[in-house]
């Protein structure tokens, strides 16, 4: 009896020493191996008288558990220590640069188009497109701008043939014509896209972007037009209130026609949209001219509605503080990086237009 207690104490002491895994395993063998000291005691159990056997067995078992537990905890301790000491040697300089990240960018024009589509989607508009090359009819004549109309001079047109039959569209309005010719009213569409005029200076570039809007139904009047644009401008500039002015103007394809100005002021050299006492023209609009409706086989006595055209690049410039229109199309890597948007920053109704 005292023998096993002695063995127990001896080994518990031994296990308190600073040991490595091998020596612990050695101890394990010495105790519990085939001829291990504890194992041997178990072998003797059979030869003991029944009464003694019971007591001894229980004692032996508890000592065995104690020792085994001690060995296991010793092993865990050593493993932890070994990992810890290894960790010290494995330390790297985490301030070294990460592997290359390749962040791409979305061009401001694309971002603004997505913002516009998202806003108009909310009030039920769908997106239509049309070709960049148009014929003279769709770009002008069908839009109530016959050949002898001086309004044609307002568009410096790029032509693709000497008869001036084929041209690069000067506005997105021909999409109105195509949409209405190919469908039946009601129509409720926007049409963003590239447009072209042979004009190039600080504020004009030979290619730019417009978004056309068209809403035709039985009772759409100028109040709807005002409401729609008011909603759009507020949403786009992400402001609660907007100072807006509708003023009469003239476009051959709408009547009555209007130009829309928004209020702004310059604060610290930056343009602030919505308030202030200065006016900035941002779009043209009006009620679709009955002649246009007739040209696309829509009965103007039954149907009426509005159309508008907005310069996309210009909206982007205002919202994101970009000064030079021409820089949009110059592919300067620094500019694209600076004004571009993260591809995951997708404008949407539910998570907001911009971060």
């Amino acid at each position: 009896m005292s023998d096993i207690k002695k063995i127990k104490d001896e080994y518990l002491n031994k296990l308190d020493n600073d040991l490595n895994i091998e020596s612990v395993n050695q101890i394990k063998t010495q105790l519990f191996g085939k001829n291990g000291q504890i194992s041997n005691f178990f072998k003797t159990l059979g030869s003991l008288p029944t009464d003694d056997r019971k007591t001894f067995a229980s004692e032996l078992n508890s000592i065995k558990d104690e020792l085994q537990e001690k060995i296991n905890s010793k092993l865990r301790e050593i493993e932890t220590k070994e990992i810890n000491s290894k960790l010290v040697n494995e330390k790297v300089d985490v301030t070294l640069p990460e592997r290359e990240i390749n962040q791409g960018k979305i061009h401001p024009v694309s971002q603004v188009i997505d913002e516009i589509s998202s806003i108009f989607s909310e009030i039920g508009f769908s997106v239509e497109e049309g070709p960049d090359i148009e014929n003279e009819h769709y770009n002008f004549t069908a839009l109530n701008t016959p050949d002898n109309h001086p309004a044609r001079d307002m568009h410096d047109t790029f032509y693709l043939d000497n008869n001036k039959e084929l041209l690069l569209r000067t506005h997105t309005s021909p999409v109105q014509v195509r949409t209405m010719l190919n469908g039946k009213p009601p129509f409720k569409i926007i049409a963003p896209g590239r447009t072209y005029r042979s004009d190039s200076d600080q504020t004009h570039s030979p290619m730019f972007h417009q978004v056309e809007g068209l809403h035709i139904d039985k009772n759409i009047n100028m109040g709807h037009l005002k409401g729609c644009l008011n909603y759009f401008i507020k949403s786009f500039f992400e402001v609660d209130k907007i100072k807006m002015r509708f003023r009469p103007s003239h476009f051959p394809f709408t009547e009555p026609s209007a130009e829309v100005d928004i209020g702004y002021e310059i604060k610290d050299g930056k343009i602030v949209i919505g308030e202030g006492d200065k006016w900035l023209e941002i779009l043209g609009c009006g009620m679709v001219h009955p002649n246009v409706l007739k040209n696309v086989k829509v009965n103007p006595d039954k149907y009426q509605g509005y159309a508008f055209g907005i310069g996309i690049d210009r909206l982007g410039m205002l919202k994101y503080g970009i000064n030079d229109l021409r820089a949009f199309f110059e592919t300067d890597y620094r500019w694209l990086n600076h004004f571009g948007f993260d591809p995951l920053d997708v404008p949407s109704n539910y998570r907001g237009l911009s971060r």
Binding site: I133, K226, F246, R247, H250
Partner: protein
């Protein structure tokens, strides 16, 4: 259209302040471009006093003057005038002033090492006299208490510049503007004073308008004024002409211009003595020529409306006069023309001859045919007043009566279009004030349209008149109604937006470049597409529509390389053009990548970008868009602008004829031709129009979730195959062996060289085999192993590498 407020008030009786009038103009659709002082430059000239005048250290003849200009600090001015001395009162012009005599703008400048802020002016420099010897000397008695005040006392008139839309020719004259303002409640339109001018005798030069097809003139009114003395215009007239930015010429010319600006009634004055017998208004014959007042000789085509006499063409009616019968300072007898020319004819002629004149601008928009006589009498009256002379009776030749157009206007249309109501009486008042003759019949108004409003043709035009005069601020702002008729985006549009962001997310910067490009660069990329020339390009290096996105991408890539960037990834999504008809275009993503991967990286080896970089980008983009990798098929064919050995094309399906994408190295010849200096140049293109729609919707795309927990086994093989044998084929052969058991096939090594024949290569493959029904026994695995080897060997001629 420019005018002064004073001039406006000659037609408009108003108590409204100038600013109010200007605002009103914008409100009724006459957009104010600018509203500024006529000659604010004159305000730069101040009465000043020289406090001290010291010798310039570096120049004997110059003095440095301290000048009191009525502000807190004096200014230093270097002056060369001998009379510049202490206490002299004179005229000072600050930096920014424009000297009237020579139109030179002053700047702060160093004169022989001493900075001079502005200048002291001589009388000659101020256009006051020819005295240029010294600076102006002002009398102390008159000016000692006026230091710092403006030297020029003329009240500076304010000039309004309107941007008149093409539908409003009537507002190209001051009177038309006044009429609109009066209708909008900004005052009362004054009656035109109709002095009874004395007319004696008939107009003795015979005038006729020929009757022929396409005759561009319908009314030709004229009168003779004899024994005039042409001279410089009087001051008031000169000032009027100058105030609108025009140059006074002579009284007769200035008067015709004045009447044009006042009433939008263009007139033409001929030297009557130079007219050969009679005036014939007719169509030109091809080949006729004449010398115009712009000193150019024009060669005419057929059917242009000309004013001619017995000897030939005198002028192009309503466009430009000729030199032969032009008035000069010694002109004694004049024939005054006041006519109506048809806008279409004017426009056609001026376009063909490329002439742009003020008269043309007005006639092509439509001149009031009812103002013929008014114009003649107004001008004749002024001419006889200023130049003397006798006025003949008016001769009016007409081929068209120009009766007033009529419109029936149903008042309810107004509310239907604008959404708000205006009282009938107010509508009638607005229209009457605008010059309409109105008679009310129950719900309808019978309207006679004033002759000066050629733009008003149908009822909707009347709605516009009422609403613009009433004010757009009366239109309600209605809540947008949200009914949706169609999905916002169709499938192709969704794909567009998805691919755009997918490509950008792989590290590419999106750019937007012109749809046109330089034909020289385009030729490198156009393949067999047609070159589409722009007839009137903005510049000779943007002369064709692009046949490929790479034209502009390579051009701008080079620009960025020149800026010092090396590793550049750019893409654009947009149109390329196949031909010149509407719709003959494709939507394409073009992406391009230059330089190296991991350049100067501390833990990764740098290497030039290569074909597999772009292959990864293009395949991943397609997979992200929902196309299964397994069905994508690669061929080693590509357009000629790619490297023939390092480029390929992607098909959605093995059996497809049209590739959806290309990828690879850009052809070295092109890199050289474009002088692009970089370690590597690769690119890819995706053709959106060739991407067939995924027929099944996402919600139906997910089959039941099935998986296997039985043990997986991996086996490696190495096959020796012909050098040009394609890895894709090997994978296809192996996967065809047993689609149920073979779960994945990976190529982990390609080897050529020692121990392999020259025309062969070794492809090492790892295959994962797993059953969904049981744990495979060794014998099962052995069987599939053998099957793989035998199938590959039979189908490809490969040999297993032992």
């Amino acid at each position: 259209m420019k005018f002064t407020i004073d001039w406006l008030k000659e037609h408009l009786d108003t108590k409204i302040q100038d600013n109010g009038l200007v605002e009103k103009l914008t409100d009724i659709g006459l957009e104010v471009e600018s509203y500024e002082n006529l000659n604010s430059n004159l305000d730069n000239f101040k009465v000043a006093k020289i406090i001290t005048a010291e010798q310039h250290p570096n120049a004997d003849r110059l003095r440095i003057c301290d000048v009191d200009i009525g502000q807190e600090n004096t200014v230093k001015v270097v002056c060369g005038a001998p009379n510049a001395k202490k206490d002299l009162l004179t005229v000072y012009a600050g930096p920014g002033s424009i000297i009237p005599k020579n139109n030179i703008k002053l700047t702060v400048s160093k004169i022989r090492g001493v900075t001079s802020y502005g200048m002291l002016c001589s009388e000659s420099e101020l256009n006051l006299s020819d005295e240029s010897e010294g600076i102006t000397e002002l009398k102390t008695t008159n000016y000692s208490d006026k230091i710092g005040e403006n030297f020029f006392k003329n009240k500076s008139e304010k000039v309004v510049d309107l941007s008149i839309t093409p539908n409003r020719p009537d507002c190209l004259g001051v009177r038309g503007i006044a009429r609109d303002l009066a209708a909008a409640g900004a005052g009362k339109l004054k009656k035109i004073s109709n002095k009874n001018i004395k007319k004696n005798g008939s107009q003795t030069i015979k005038v006729s308008i020929t009757k022929e097809k396409n005759q561009g003139c319908t009314v030709f009114g004229s009168c003779l004024i004899t024994d005039v003395t042409n001279k410089e215009s009087p001051k008031w007239l000169k000032e009027k002409i100058i105030s609108l930015g025009q140059k006074p010429i002579s009284a007769i010319v200035d008067i015709t211009n004045y009447v044009m600006l006042d009433l939008n009634r263009p007139l033409h004055a001929y030297d009557a003595d130079k007219i050969d017998q009679e005036i014939i208004v007719r169509n030109s014959k091809k080949g006729e020529t004449f010398q115009a007042l712009d000193n150019k000789e024009y060669k005419l085509g057929d059917d242009m409306c000309v004013i001619s006499d017995k000897s030939g063409v005198l002028g192009l009616g309503g466009v430009i006069g000729g030199t032969r019968t032009g008035t000069e300072i010694n002109t004694k007898n004049i024939l005054l023309e006041s006519a109506y020319f048809i806008p279409r004819s004017i426009r056609k002629t001026s376009k063909l001859l490329n002439i742009d004149t003020d008269a043309k601008f007005r006639f092509e928009r439509g001149i009031d045919p009812g103002s013929i006589e008014l114009g003649l009498s107004k001008a004749a009256e002024l001419i006889s007043e200023i130049c003397g002379g006798k006025i003949s009776n008016f001769d009016i030749q007409k081929t068209d009566k120009h009766e007033k157009n009529k419109i029936k206007f149903n008042v309810s249309l107004f509310e239907k279009i604008t959404g708000f109501k205006v009282d009938d009486n107010e509508i009638i008042k607005i229209l009457t004030d605008l010059g309409f003759e109105v008679s009310k019949k129950k719900l309808e108004l019978d309207l006679k349209i004033p002759t000066w409003r050629p733009d008003i043709i149908q009822p909707i035009d009347i709605v516009e008149e009422i609403v613009r005069i009433k004010g757009y601020n009366n239109i309600e702002t209605l809540e947008p109604e949200k009914t949706k008729i169609k999905d916002t985006l169709n499938k192709q549009q969704k794909l567009f937006h998805f691919l755009q962001r997918s490509v950008a997310s792989k590290g590419y910067f999106e750019t937007v470049t012109w749809s046109f490009t330089d034909s020289k660069i385009n030729n490198l990329f156009k393949e067999n597409l047609k070159e589409i020339k722009i007839v009137n390009p903005i510049s000779s290096d943007l002369d064709v529509l692009r046949n490929s996105i790479f034209t502009n991408l390579t051009f701008y890539l080079k620009k960025n390389l020149d800026r010092g960037f090396k590793d550049i990834s750019l893409f654009e999504i947009g149109p390329i053009f196949k031909n010149s008809k509407p719709g003959e275009q494709l939507t394409v993503i073009g992406a391009i990548k230059s330089g190296k991967v991991s350049r100067l990286n501390w833990n990764e080896k740098e290497r030039p970008v290569d074909v597999f970089d772009v292959k990864k980008d293009v395949i991943q983009t397609l997979v992200e868009a929902g196309y299964e990798r397994k069905s994508l098929f690669i061929r080693d064919k590509s357009p000629s602008y790619y490297h023939p050995g390092k480029a390929g094309s992607v098909y959605l399906d093995k059996d497809d004829i049209e590739p959806v994408a290309y990828f690879g190295d850009i052809h070295p010849n092109i890199v050289k031709k474009l002088d692009i200096k970089t370690e590597g140049l690769v690119g890819f293109e995706i053709y959106l129009d060739h991407l067939k729609e995924n027929k099944i919707k996402l919600k139906d795309q997910k089959p039941n979730f099935e998986y296997s927990d039985y043990q997986k086994s991996e086996r490696d093989f190495a096959f020796i195959v012909d050098k040009n044998f394609k890895a894709q084929d090997l994978i296809e052969i192996i996967s065809s062996v047993d689609q149920n058991l073979i779960r994945s096939i990976k190529i982990f090594d390609i080897y050529e060289g020692e121990n392999i024949p020259d025309d062969k290569k070794s492809i090492a493959i790892n295959v994962i085999i797993q059953s969904s029904e049981k744990t495979l026994e060794d014998s099962d695995l052995e069987k599939i192993n053998k099957l793989i080897i035998s199938t590959v060997e039979t189908k490809s001629g490969a040999k297993i590498r032992s």
